[in-house]
Symmetry: C2
Subunit: 487 residues, 2 copies
């Protein structure tokens, strides 16, 4: 067998013990808070049928799906199927498109220009499964598939990796973890309030400074209505969303290019002026006045008012900002929109979500409203690492290393080691009688705070010498004394 | 959008909250014990480069790899590459094999007989990544890739899903979890002993009756030597491995068919007779006598003797059996072989592993010995479910449900709810003022043991009515009293 230089696919990562301990600190905190609020865990398979995934994330999203080649002879499906607009035929070891030289209408298919078969026509026949792209669509699929076993309102959380064939870049990976928490089957705005509470509880426990931005899709719809562009909500919100980064003028220019009328853009101006305002007591009166002509807009205002009243009662408004430009691209949101930014670190959102009124409709279950948010564990990790927020205490896991001086000493130590472990203290013995320096190095590199030295003298006295690796201090102790000191 | 009936790929599973709680009980127990023994967690990506995976699991294994189609135009690689023995060329929208009608030598390629291009020749050009098939090969890759950051001996554990395109059947899935624990960079047999301790600790905590079977590849090699077939160790062990299921005669017939001489089979007879013997004190003397002519065989006997001496000191021999027919197909084992069977349930092994002297050699790091075992979480789950071994206490997670009687009552309850959660008790409020029966149903279905009823009377008294859902008993309590009772 030839020797290979090992590597992993670009955009993916290995996690070392040091990283894992920190990551688990984040996951465990998130999980504990989710459960404290009555959410229960589910998991779904890494692979979903492509029919479940395709068309749910827009054209761009479809391209970013990792597709899994059918097992066995993946060309089987090609010969059997007759796809619309020209199938694929194969004879004498050749694979040929049935429409032969005939080019697709509209021309310009890059693949064909290069003299290649259009790979997009092959796709449906050779790959029927894909890796999940997020946890929301699999959750919707889960709810519909298991609707008879589920108690509604269904409060679930899900912490699993997702995969996207994005161009890898700093802080963006092709495999990353999402931590989703959703409640489905309840219209109550109390659910939104609870999600803000959860955000507060998690980031407080992690020690991460944060700001929760809130908006409501209905307010955005109201703005589209009153500026006279009720049917262009998506175009409007995509542009509005950029105001933070691109600024005022760029947004107006983009809207002009999209064909919004000058009148519409002019009517939008007062709203744009309010995009940097964050306090509910200033924004609400303004919106009430300016959206009075839009029923849906007034509904959104009512919802925001109620949510704020709850948050006020719970003393949670300090870290909350109202942001009328907040849209979050995904156009399945229909009510509240939520986004969390880290203070002190210029990084994208570390958590986000919102209410969606008909997510399960595509899978056949209509009229079920849900609301949820997703925590981005990888970004939270980056923030905590940069700000040095991981507690010292989580750095090491093994508490005591028994130094190995040889066969006799080993036999003396093993029952003590077993006792230490039985008391719940992570401990180990160096597996062979290597040089003392090597064993102490091992303890240092693994951040083990205590070592036990037991040689001739200790075997005679029935005691152990315990060395504190930080202070260098040594003490003679019994097994029980050791457990008491180390715990 | 059209409505789809939702489903998941065959051989994969959704996990409901009930199942998750049980599965997490298993994972948490395994993780806690691993850490108690000084093992640290790592994780590797779901996808590995196919060059890392291919050729590591035999020809059968290669076929069971899930391959991920290259992103974008996956046919790009086809046009650029010139594979050995005939490439693929494409012109005018046609895709053609360069060796045209020329059949592969040896003939009989099923795909070509059906008039299809040989899909196996296409594979390397359209898929460069695959889903991991186990955790051992990714671990070996990890060790070599990160050798300069690792402190040896490296004690690591890894709990992640793996994927195999196996034919789905009862108890066998295409996505399943492995829980691997390995130490690499130490020859010491103390590591083997520690793994047996870990097995004992985990199954004791889970309440699963078990038997650990041990053998040593060197003993098998010794047997092959003394029967005069030193170069046919793999053939021999594959047959021996079947003795449990197929019986004595079948094994002898199989060896005959494989071309083992009558002399060899006759010499094997006394060993076959000992295959059902399990006690070290009977087997070791027999082996010492019969393998005295084989150096490697005697080495294996020495290793087994030492391991048993340790296990004896730790009073761990009761659940251990010596099984000279145990081989475990994987031919990278070079020393100790370990397998665990569940008592009381006729299911395959629930844990297994062994020592491998050169796993990292294929990736360029020679002479590093390792030993490890893998726990099959899915099978352990099935055993525990069948024997009803999951503790009652893990069934529910939310402890208290606050009944929602309306806006005023909600406002009264929310601060109490926050206090209950702050004390670490999972609690929730029904999100809307639904009918009482519906809310109580919700509590029952979710196995919530307590509900809080707070209406006019309670708001006047400042107390809460706590109802025990099991006994039906009701009590008036303060917030603090509630926390004390429910905890």
């Amino acid at each position: 067998m030839s020797v290979q230089k090992p590597s992993i696919p670009k955009g993916t990562r290995d996690f070392s013990p040091d990283e894992m301990v920190k990551r688990n600190f984040i996951f465990d905190t998130i999980r504990r808070v989710f459960q404290l609020y009555g959410y229960l865990p589910i998991e779904t398979p890494a692979m979903e049928n492509l029919s479940t995934l395709l068309g749910k994330y827009g054209e761009e999203g479809d391209k970013l799906l990792f597709r899994i080649l059918n097992s066995g002879n993946f060309l089987d499906g090609v010969s059997k199927a007759k796809p619309e607009g020209g199938g694929l035929r194969s004879e004498d070891g050749e694979l040929r498109m049935e429409d032969g030289g005939q080019r697709s209408e509209g021309g310009g298919l890059k693949a064909e220009e290069e003299g290649l078969m259009d790979y997009r026509k092959l796709l449906p026949f050779i790959a029927e499964k894909g890796l999940r792209y997020d946890l929301t669509v699999p959750f919707a699929r889960f709810v519909v598939q298991h609707q008879n076993e589920i108690t509604f309102p269904f409060k679930r959380y899900q912490i699993q990796p997702v995969w996207r064939a994005d161009r890898p870049q700093k802080g963006r990976y092709r495999e990353f973890f999402q931590c989703d928490v959703d409640v489905i089957g309840s219209d109550s705005l109390l659910n939104e309030v609870e999600l803000v509470q959860i955000i507060g509880a998690i980031f407080k426990e992690l020690g991460v400074g944060f700001t929760v931005k809130l908006n409501n899709r209905k307010i955005l719809a109201g703005i589209a209505e009153v500026i006279g562009e009720p049917n262009r909500l998506t175009d409007l919100t995509i542009s509005l969303d950029k105001i933070d980064k691109a600024g005022f003028d760029a947004v107006m220019n983009e809207l002009r290019q999209k064909g919004f009328t000058e009148h519409a853009i002019e009517s939008l101006l007062p709203f744009l002026n309010f995009a940097s305002e964050t306090h509910i007591n200033i924004i609400l009166p303004f919106l009430k006045e300016n959206l009075s002509g839009s029923q849906i807009g007034m509904k959104g205002i009512g919802e925001m008012g109620m949510i704020y009243a709850y948050l006020n009662d719970l003393s949670l408004t300090d870290s909350v900002e109202f942001d009328i430009s907040l849209a979050r691209g995904l156009n399945y949101y229909t009510g509240t929109i939520i986004e969390v930014k880290a203070k002190d670190v210029p990084i994208g959102s570390i958590c986000g979500g919102g209410r969606y009124d008909d997510l399960t409709g595509i899978f056949g279950l209509k009229g079920v409203s849900g609301v949820g948010i997703s925590f981005g564990a990888d970004r939270i990790y980056d923030v905590m690492n940069e700000l040095n927020l991981f507690p010292e205490t989580i750095q090491s896991t093994t508490k005591v290393l028994f130094i190995n001086f040889g066969e006799k000493e080993e036999k003396y130590c093993l029952p003590v080691l077993a006792k230490v472990r039985r008391s719940g203290i992570p401990a180990e013995i160096y597996p062979e009688a290597a040089k003392l320096k090597k064993q102490l190095d091992y303890a240092n590199k693994k951040n083990i705070p205590y070592v036990v030295l037991a040689g001739e003298k200790e075997m005679n006295s029935g005691l152990l010498t315990l060395k504190d690796m930080n202070t260098g201090e040594q003490k003679e102790v019994s097994a029980e004394g050791l457990i008491g000191l180390v715990r």
